[in-house]
Amino acid sequence: MAMNYNAKDEVDGGPPCAPGGTAKTRRPDNTAFKQQRLPAWQPILTAGTVLPIFFIIGLIFIPIGIGIFVTSNNIREIENPSKECEPYRRNEDKPIAPCGAIANSMFNDTLELFLIGNDSYPVPIALKKKGIAWWTDKNVKFRNPPGGDSLEERFKGTTKPVNWLKPVYMLDSDPDNNGFINEDFIVWMRTAALPTFRKLYRLIERKSDLHPTLPAGRYSLNITYNYPVHYFDGRKRMILSTISWMGGKNPFLGIAYIAVGSISFLLGVVLLVINHKYRNSSNTADITI
């Protein structure tokens, strides 16, 4: 099939009758864009032009790294030795609430911390259950089913996930932290990214500036062991950690910044040497075959 029979040729080449018509030339517009003359910044990558960048990176990164490192080191940690619904959608002909594999595998150990005082009566440390989840998760994303008086009635007709000990409406006594809006549950539902992960469990509130939050002394940790990990060689830890603007303790960023900054600085020095050595040549750069 003649796909491109050049129509324009036929038409344009047609009777050039109209003598009055001004000859419209096909001269292309002489604009910077069409003629590819747009003004442009033309960086050239040579040792001479690039080495400042390396030094700048070095000079910026190393202090940042030091800052991060120091901040991270101020964070004190006390370590204690420690998808969609299918196939967990229905159990015993009742829908599972909450359904799904993630919910099913929710961490359900109970941890209690006691300060063992002089009188050898362990004083329980108040662990705040609320405030550990994202505000948006708790207030926007997760909602309890509507209607009914008690939570139990609202979850009527559902069954608990297979691995759970308690149904969802019995997670907490506080109605604002029960059911789907239980913060332990919400935290668990934010799937961890990596195999080794932490989950925020509880907050230890500082009462006043006068008293240390956790005064020096002996503490005991009471663990209600519900969550088995040993048969897949898993480990559990409980970490008591202060938090700062950059989250928990992780010296990596600081070290990385210092490292990258140093490497960059070093490369800058290398380029400086090279630039010194080859400056003549690049000044007289010429094209040869």
Partner: protein
């Protein structure tokens, strides 16, 4: 309408040969009532009637429909076509995999989105293209045309689309034929008309067409109503040079139809007032449309390389998926027994076996990692190429003011090939030269007339031209306005000088302009016309004239002249009449200067001839030759010769003499017509300037030359030629035969009866090599013979001199025939004409019998000036490392001279000349050559660098041989080649078949634009595209790498930490625009530097930007970067309470920033568009992320990325990671780039630095090129260091300095052993072109170079002068033949090793 073979009567014997099973088409007039029931098959083609009768109609009407789709068929058809692309099938397959529950990685609908997006873009583009085709179709279909209406009994205006086969169409001057039309009537009294076929084949000279025999004799106006004949002709085919058929009149008489009777759609009627014809083929059955195969989609070399790398990517993808699958299987197997909490069984509670899990994992991985095959790559490449084509088209410096045409790209997808060309094949005449033939000097009877005044005149034109050139083309960047103005003023001057005539009928704009000014004539610029005669010769001519005027009524007037003067006279008569030039009068273009003579009934037998010939009462003067009867049929065949100057159809014409044509008798000639015509002649003002319509510029040049000597051609009819001399008055020669020029005989002849002597003379004009061999042998015994011999040797010397000056030489010779000889020859000629078999061969033999025993009159030297800027262009192209082959039909000396003139050869180069008359000789010569070069090579071993054959010049090649050279080269070498030609004579060289006639890849207005096209645009296109392709590979590999590394942390479960939305749209939305802008706009080296340093072009030839090595480096870097971009966030968030997507989103952000910074390193020029698109990409990403993460708290179930980005924006660690990771990832690349830029800069980097260092110097390219030399100071600055520190540069650096100057061009011979090999093939027998091919192929010299391939063709942009065709070789780089290692180094490989062995 189209009958089966059984029912067909063969129109004539020749038709039998090639017709496919005798299938013919029968055409009748639509004006007739439909034929009776006895012949239902052959019906009229009129639409209404057809419908009424309900008879199925197979003939196409004239509606043009080039659209592919209708509204309904668009979707299925377009999708069907798109799925022809493997890539699309692949992507759809992947997307569909998502619908399989077990392996789905993404939401099925979402996964389809990118594929649909890509398909939609392509579909939209196709739709738009189709719409523009539809619009142009519509425009063409609604062109007007006069069609005879049965109802109104007159011609009425109809649209083109309403024309049907069998309609009668009337066309006026300068109109375009709407369909293939059989010419039935012409306003020309001889029944001729002229057409310009530029739309079809690019040839701008006029071609003659003839009214069908039997109709030309009609004097009264042709009345379509009386047309009752039936036309039988071939079925539609695409052979432009062939048409056969016959017309059957009512009385059962038949007449043959030939190519000369057919007016092809798309051609333009010229110089003829009006014609009437019947439509034979319409619409898509016309030859023009059958020849048009649409745009060609070639695959560029780069693209093939890219596809190869895509396959690597596929392999990589499969490997990664396999690895992952195995990993997942092991992971499952390991935890199978342990029933861990996180283990998710299948829905029925059972657990998958590790193997099944691995299989599923494999498929899922393929989906997840599909991004590795860049879905956006193909679309991006198309966009970039479209933009490149746009920019090339828009380049104002490729715009030719003179022809008002700019460069045109026809092939849309091979722009980058222009940057990798290695060989250029060029025609000479019309391509390198202007095709303005100017009479320069001549020699008559052994005396040379140097025409010094003429030479000076030409020199003045040269100056004027060069001034003009200085003003116009180069000023590009500085002040365009000013230069336009001055340029136009120059042209105005020219116009006024030029009596408003025009050089060529070239471009349509020119045609328009010319037609506004006056009727235009080809080859009649003042330079070609106003020849200054040589005073000596002028004197001799007028002496002849005078003495003949005195002696005209004596018995032997010529005998009164001395032999020399007699020769002079004959020489000029020959110049004047030995051609096919048609005389027209500019002010009355509608009627030729013409006196109608009494009808002469055709001669059919020798007896007839003799009977008529004897009572000769010939006189000079204009109107008293009435009694002479000329042989009508002979004239017919003569004219058929005239109109077929091309090589192939030369002797094709066959007269079917079996059918007497005397049926058309004289009765139709009315005396009134004669009177009317005579009156016209009377009215003819003598001072009107006559116009010469020549088919070739040489002819025009000679006629103009003769006119300068007052020997004026005043009219040419089919049977007579009139020449006017000042004293003698008008001499009318009876034209008995014209044996047209063909490229095999290389000569043409006319047979005339001389009015003064009443003798029959043969005047022959032809190439000296041929004519000199045909001369009458002269005995050295008698004085005359000795004299003749002397004259010949003198003439030969002058011929050599002319050739050495680069002139085209022609010999003029004469032969006097006795009546008996003539009668004898005529008989055999008529026999040859009537012979049904082999008549071409017989006619050829017949011509040879006539053109023998010639008497040499003289020789002419015609100058064909080089086009502006050709030497500079060639010199630059050679510096750019291109090997230029010129294939020409000129004689060796001429060609060599021109080659020197245009810097194809340098004087300090070694030229190896090969002349051979046979295969064996040629082989032997080559063998010698080889040994010679070998010995030289050994001596100069240290100096040899890369001296291959620098340029090759093939002379004396006929078009057929040209095409054989090209074919051979194509089959033996595998390199990127480009063929350029102007279409007039290069069709057979360049075209691949008829299909290619109308499709070239690029159309260039002038040869010199080739330089900018290749060196600038070609380079840019290549480097842009290469870099973009590499970038895409990098981008996708790096992105997929991130996903892959994550698999190590998720049990190879094919989960992704990157949200599926980002995953799917990342390539398409966030990271696609900046590379596109870079791919379109990046200028790796500024334009002026590229042009002043053509050697930079070599980077493209050597594929420096995109080699397999580069590709793998690129991939390695991508892997490294992905590792960095993965591990830094990993470590930064290690053992934290980060969730999957809060961790994945920073990674996407990091990846995006890394891509942009990477692109920043690779982008050489940052225009505001680059900044904007980069900024836009980042903004778009964050906007989309924020909106998406805020849009729905519970949607997108698996990911649930609600508020992630918002939370991240409040997290300092996010910023800290995003700042550091891209820097860390790109440090190595940046470091190595800059290191390499300093320590081992490539040529391109040097050029960039140079441009940067001396911006002012390069901002004025005009000055630089005018001075021809690069900055002087660079030589001194150079001083130390460079050569020491840069191993890449060769010791030759210092001598390269002048290489930028066209004047001091060429590579120094001390460095390159540059050889120019001239290949001269002379075929002994024209009938044996085939043996020459083996000659070539035996010689393996070509095969050891690297490659050449097919070429493109000429034409299409019909009126532009040249086209180039960039093309790709069929294979990749060729391994040097190891068997030839005996030849030292690469230099000499060209000269065959094996060939000698093989041929001996």
């Amino acid at each position: 309408m189209e009958r089966e073979p059984a029912g067909t009567e063969e129109p004539g014997p020749p038709g039998r040969r090639r017709r496919r099973e005798g299938r013919t088409r029968t055409v009748r007039s639509n004006l007739l009532p439909p034929p009776g029931a006895e012949d239902p098959a052959a019906g009229a083609a009129k639409g209404e009637r057809r419908r009424r009768r309900g008879c199925p109609q197979h003939l196409a009407d004239n509606r043009l429909k080039t659209t592919k789709y209708t509204l309904l068929s668009f979707l299925p058809k377009n999708l069907f076509e798109q799925f022809h692309r493997p890539a699309n099938v692949y992507f759809v397959f992947i997307a569909l995999l998502n619908f399989v529950p077990a392996v789905n990685a993404f939401q099925p609908g979402l996964a389809l989105a990118p594929v649909l997006f890509i398909l939609a873009i392509t579909a939209f583009r196709d739709l738009w293209e189709d719409y523009s085709r539809h619009r142009s179709d519509h425009k063409i279909n609604h062109l007007g045309c006069l069609v005879f209406s049965r109802e109104e009994k007159k011609y009425v205006n109809r649209f083109w689309k309403e024309i049907h086969v069998g309609d009668f169409v009337r066309l006026r001057c300068n109109e375009i034929f709407p369909a293939d039309i059989l010419l039935l009537s012409s306003s020309d009294p001889d029944g001729l008309c002229h057409i310009e076929t530029a739309n079809l084949d690019g040839e701008t000279n006029l071609k003659r067409r003839q009214v069908v025999r039997g109709f030309s004799e009609l004097v009264s106006e042709f009345n379509p109503l009386t047309f009752t004949s039936v036309i039988e002709c071939e079925k539609p085919n695409n052979d432009l040079s062939r048409f056969r058929g016959c017309i059957i009149h009512d009385n059962g008489k038949k007449a043959g139809l030939y190519k000369e009777n057919l007016l092809l759609r798309g051609c333009t009627l010229r110089n003829t007032d009006a014609v009437v014809g019947i439509v034979i083929y319409a619409g898509h059955e016309t030859k023009a449309l059958l020849n048009n195969s649409g745009p060609r989609y070639k695959r560029s070399k780069l693209e093939r390389q890219m596809n190869c790398d895509v396959l690597w990517c596929v392999l990589l993808l499969v490997c990664m998926s396999l690895f992952s699958a195995v990993g997942h299987g092991l992971w499952i197997w390991r935890y199978q027994e342990k029933k861990s909490l996180f283990y998710v069984p299948t829905s029925d509670g059972s657990s998958l076996s590790p193997v099944t899990a691995a299989v599923y994992s494999f498929l899922t991985m393929i989906i997840v990692l599909q991004v590795l095959i860049p879905i956006s790559l193909y679309v991006s490449i198309e966009i970039v190429k479209a933009c490149q084509v746009y920019f090339i088209n828009q380049d104002v410096q490729l715009y030719d003011e003179e022809t008002d045409s700019q460069l045109q790209c026809r092939a849309l997808n091979i722009t980058e090939d222009l940057g990798q060309i290695q060989y250029i094949f060029s025609d000479k005449t019309g391509t390198l030269t202007e095709n303005k033939m100017v009479f320069r000097r001549c020699t008559v009877s052994g005396v040379e007339y140097s025409h010094d005044a003429n030479a000076q005149r030409l020199a003045r034109y040269q100056e004027a031209d060069s001034e003009e050139e200085e003003v116009v083309p180069r000023g590009g960047s500085v002040s365009q306005r000013g230069s336009i103005g001055s340029h136009q003023s120059v042209r105005v001057v020219h116009r006024t000088q030029s009596t408003k005539s025009h050089r060529r009928t070239g471009s349509r704009a020119e045609a328009k302009r010319a037609s506004m000014l006056s009727k235009h004539t080809a080859f009649s610029s003042p330079m070609e016309k106003d020849i200054t005669p040589d005073p000596k010769l002028l004197e001799k001519v007028s002496e002849c004239d005078k003495s003949l005027a005195v002696a005209r009524h004596q018995e032997h007037p010529l005998a009164h002249l001395s032999p020399e003067l007699s020769d002079v006279f004959d020489f000029f008569i020959a110049l004047t009449i030995c051609n096919t030039v048609v005389v027209t009068c500019p002010d009355q273009p509608r009627t030729k200067v013409r006196v109608r003579f009494e009808l002469k009934s055709p001669v059919k037998t020798i007896e007839d001839f003799l009977r008529r010939f004897t009572p000769s009462c010939l006189t000079s003067g204009c109107s008293s030759i009435g009694s002479l009867a000329a042989n009508k049929s002979n004239h017919k065949s003569g004219s058929s010769f005239l109109s077929t100057p091309s090589s192939d159809g030369m002797l094709l014409r066959l007269e079917s003499l079996g059918q007497p044509t005397s049926a058309i008798t004289s009765n139709s000639y009315s005396s009134q017509a004669d009177d009317w015509a005579s009156e016209l002649a009377q009215e003819q003002e003598p001072d009107h300037e006559l116009r010469y319509e020549a088919e070739s510029p040489d002819e025009a040049a000679l006629v103009y030359a003769a006119r300068a000597y007052n020997c004026v051609l005043v009219e040419r009819l089919h049977d007579q030629v009139s020449v006017e001399l000042p004293h003698l008055g008008r001499l009318t020669f009876d034209l008995l035969h014209t044996l047209g020029f063909d490229s095999i005989r290389k000569r043409m002849s006319v047979v005339i009866r001389h009015p003064l002597t009443n003798e029959i003379n043969v005047y022959t004009k032809g190439a000296d090599s041929v004519v000199m061999d045909l001369l009458q042998p002269c005995s050295s015994v008698d004085a005359r013979g000795r004299h003749q011999k002397k004259i010949r040797s003198k003439t030969q010397n002058y011929l050599n001199l002319y050739a050495a000056e680069g002139l085209r030489t022609l010999c003029i010779a004469k032969r006097v025939l006795s009546k008996e000889e003539y009668a004898c020859w005529l008989q055999s000629h008529l026999e040859a004409e009537s012979s049904p078999e082999n008549s071409e061969e017989l006619l050829f033999q017949s011509a040879i019998r006539l053109e023998t025993n010639l008497h040499l009159l003289g020789a002419t030297g015609i100058e064909d000036r080089l086009q502006d800027g050709v030497p500079e262009t060639i010199s630059k192209l050679r510096q750019a490392g291109l090997q230029i082959w010129v294939l020409t039909g000129d004689k060796q000396e001429t060609a060599v001279n021109i080659a020197y003139a245009c810097k194809l050869l340098d004087h300090d180069e070694e030229v190896i000349t090969l002349n051979a008359t046979s295969q064996e000789a040629c082989a032997a010569l080559l063998d010698q050559c080889l040994r010679y070069v070998q010995s030289r090579g050994l001596q100069r071993a240290p100096e040899k660098t890369k001296g291959k054959c620098r340029s090759v010049l093939c002379c004396r090649s006929t078009p057929l041989q040209k095409s054989m050279v090209v074919k051979l080269v194509r089959s033996k070498l595998k390199a990127m080649t480009l063929a350029i030609g102007d279409g007039a004579n290069d069709v057979s060289m360049i075209q691949e078949g008829m299909q290619a006639v109308m499709a070239s890849d690029f159309a260039v207005p002038k040869f010199r634009y080739l330089e900018r096209l290749l060196i600038l645009h070609g380079h840019w296109c290549y480097s842009r595209l290469a870099n973009m392709v590499l970038y895409f590979f990098y981008k996708n590999t790096m992105f997929v790498g991130l996903l892959f590394w994550f698999q190590f942390f998720c049990g190879f479960s094919a989960s992704a930490m990157i949200d599926q939305w980002y995953l799917i749209f990342f390539n398409l939305l966030f990271s696609s625009l900046p590379p596109l802008v870079t791919g379109v706009l990046d200028r790796d080296v500024p334009a002026n530097v590229l042009q002043t340093n053509p050697q930079l072009y070599k980077s493209g030839q050597n594929m420096e930007e995109y080699r397999p090595r580069t590709f793998w480096f690129n991939m390695a870097d991508a892997t490294f970067q992905s590792l960095v971009c993965f591990s830094i966030p990993y470590l930064a968030y290690y053992d934290s309470n980060v969730d999957l997507f809060t961790w994945g989103t920073p990674i996407v952000t990091i990846a995006l920033l890394t891509f942009l910074l990477h692109l920043g390193i690779e982008t050489k020029t940052w225009t505001w568009l680059n900044w904007i698109t980069c900024g836009f990409s980042v903004l778009l990403f964050f906007t989309v992320a924020l909106i998406y993460n805020a849009s729905c708290a519970t949607c997108y179930p698996p990911s649930n990325p609600y508020w992630t980005m918002q939370a991240l924006l409040g997290d300092p660690v996010f910023y800290l990671t995003c700042l550091m990771t891209p820097v860390a990832a790109l440090l190595p690349r940046l470091f190595f780039r800059s290191l390499q830029g300093s320590v081992l800069p490539t040529q391109l980097q040097l050029a960039r630095q140079l441009a940067r260092k001396s911006p002012r110097r390069h901002r004025t390219p005009k000055e630089t090129s005018a001075q021809g030399c690069l900055p002087k100071d660079s030589g001194t600055e150079h001083s130390v260091g460079r050569t020491v520190s840069v191993p890449l540069s060769q010791p030759s650096w210092h001598t390269q300095q002048p290489a930028c100057s066209p004047e001091a061009s060429g590579e120094p011979s001390t460095v390159d052993m540059s050889m120019a090999l001239r290949e001269h093939t002379l075929l002994e027998r024209l009938s044996a072109p085939a043996p020459s091919l083996p000659t070539f192929s035996l010689l393996n010299w070509i095969s050891s170079w690297s490659l050449v391939s097919r070429l493109g063709s000429v034409l299409q942009f019909a009126r532009t002068e040249q086209l180039a065709d960039g093309q790709t070789g069929r294979g990749l780089a060729v391994q040097p033949h190891s068997g030839r290692s005996g030849l030292q180094g690469p230099d000499h490989r060209l000269l065959i090793g094996a060939s000698s062995r093989r041929s001996q």
